[in-house]
Amino acid sequence: MSMLEDRVRASLLAARRWHGAEIAFWLLALAVFWLFPRNLLLLNEIAILALFALSLDLILGFAGIVSLGHAAFLGLGAYAAGLLAKHGIGDPLVGLAFAMVVSGLAGLLASPLIVKGNDLTRLMVTLGVALILHEIANSWGSLTGGADGLQGIAINPVLGLFSFDLFGKTAYLYSLSVLFVLFLVARRMMNSPFGLSLRAIRDNSLRAAASGVPPSQRLALIYTIAASYAGAAGALIAQTSQFVSLDVLDFHRSADVMLVLIIGGPGYLYGGMIGAIVFKFLQDTISAFTPQYWMFWIGLFLVLFVLRGRTLIHGGVKLIMFRLPARVRGKRS
């Protein structure tokens, strides 16, 4: 028994060690701040989308929960942070924490429905919850501003030092920092026994239950955590753009983030980030010449991607991220 424990511990510790490629990735994310000073607003969007996709990765990639309505928590977080700032508490970090708590609570409330069902009921429940929230935000105009959006959000400087500017300098660094910190937490969590147990549930929930992992409890927990992550992404949207519209709860947000995660590949934490970069780049290029029919191209991309391209892209990414460094190390030793 203790030998097994040692082996598990050793493998977890090994996974927790930082690869060279990972360090390079984060250094690069920081470096683009100076490399592309004109594109900071886009970079900020990428960072937020990456955080949102990371949140989906926690439930989809690690726990195998399919969701068609993850935008529910994004939107909830955005409105929570926006409303807090509108009513006088403009400190961004307080707003962030508040949004995470609100979305997390919503996730906790929704989790009994998620835990129970099969894929189909999960799809429906997540979709339904997102639709309900969208409808509430739409009809409760006195609170949310309805279809006009939530205006008059004033955000104080981050830590009282860095105020938000028009070019997105503060915004990008702020979003990137939040993304990085939450990523560290997620990374630690997924390389812990808790993360292992989630993967066990994903791969075979019956067997996981038989070996002493309580599936419903674990799924509820990760769903709550992922919801609060999505809430954080929503708060970043509200704070860096100082505006919240109904769009944050729209169905296409949920679909987009799924595409983002699938492009990058679920289940190794970096998928969301890589996907966010590819997605935003694609969106930027395509909508430059057909702004209205961007939806068509994204649809075509989805279809082709699922039919053919998936193995291609993932094979490439995994090769660069994992095999190559491993091979290099292997040769050295």
């Binding site: 799924m258 209205q292 068509f296 994204i298 699922v306 998936r310």
Partner: protein, 285 residues
């Protein structure tokens, strides 16, 4: 009061015709097809185009909508859907969302984003008044057509050889295949029938539900509710689910318009808590 009930039932009937194809294909191939609404929309647009551009009478457009969409369904099933059967639900969801997006943007491009309006023939307009209950003629027409369809589907499903093979394949595709039932061909046929019915439902529903490019997205949740609540192994399950949904939706929007849109979601959540396996779930090993 009875008028609302009647309207709700007519609405539910259309929903049933729209969604029953989905429930069978979902049950048969365990395939999550979110693009079902796109077929319905196609049927609606076929009717609109035939009526507005070519002046075909309304009644004639209905079978044409059915046939047209069924043909498209067969082709798509062969070319696009078949490779997806073996994949996991996530891939299927992504794939069919992709199709929905393409359909939405394509319809927008070809037909414009406005609501489509058709002119019903004179004998379908207006309403009867029977004992103080107002009954829309068109709704009665829809009710009769869908009722006949539902009965013949139920009959076909339970009494014919095709139906029993289908039920066998839904219950256990592997064993059915082992017994020499051509499951794939059966499925292609069912898929065509299902999408054809969706097309017909879309055509019938223009007057009741409206038709614009966002149709597949707007009604996706309705179809899913019908299928999940009704279960996938019978015709009667989705039928009653659709009725329930139709009546609840119409009544909700009539009596409490402020929160009317929530009714079906709340209903769905309650149903899923009480009966997570569907309203009429049979025990399964």
């Amino acid at each position: 009061m009875l008028t609302i009930l009647f309207d709700g039932i007519a609405y539910g009937m259309v929903l049933f015709v729209l969604a029953c194809g989905l429930s069978v294909t979902m049950g048969l191939m365990n395939f999550v097809n979110l693009a079902h609404g796109a077929f319905a929309m196609l049927g609606g647009y076929i009717t609109v185009i035939l009526m507005q551009r070519l002046g075909v009478p309304f009644l004639l457009t209905l079978p044409l909508a059915f046939i047209g969409v069924a043909l498209v369904g067969v082709v798509l099933e062969r070319v696009l859907y078949r490779p997806m059967y073996g994949k996991n639900h996530l891939d299927q969801v992504m794939f069919t969302i992709g199709i929905v997006f393409m359909a939405v943007a394509g319809a927008d491009y070809l037909m414009g984003s406005s609501q489509q309006i058709i002119k019903l023939p004179a004998w379908l307009q207006g309403r009867f008044n029977i004992g103080g209950v107002g009954i829309g003629k068109y709704r009665l027409f829809v009710l009769v057509i869908c009722g006949i369809l539902a009965f013949s589907l139920q009959w076909g499903f339970t009494k014919t050889r095709f139906g029993s093979r289908l039920r066998a394949s839904v219950d256990d595709a592997r064993v059915a295949r082992g017994l020499g039932i051509p499951v794939n061909r059966l499925f292609a046929l069912t898929f065509a029938l299902g999408s054809g019915l969706a097309g017909l439902g879309g055509a019938l529903g223009i007057e009741l539900m409206g038709l614009d490019p966002s149709f597949p997205l707007k009604f996706m949740i309705y179809f899913l509710v019908v299928v999940t609540v009704g279960g996938t192994s019978t015709i009667t399950g989705p039928f009653f689910a659709a009725m329930l949904l139709g009546v609840a939706d119409v009544a909700g929007k009539y009596f409490v318009p402020e929160i009317g849109a929530f009714i079906i979601y709340v209903l769905m959540v309650i149903l899923l808590i009480v009966r997570p396996d569907g309203l009429f779930a049979r025990g399964r090993a």
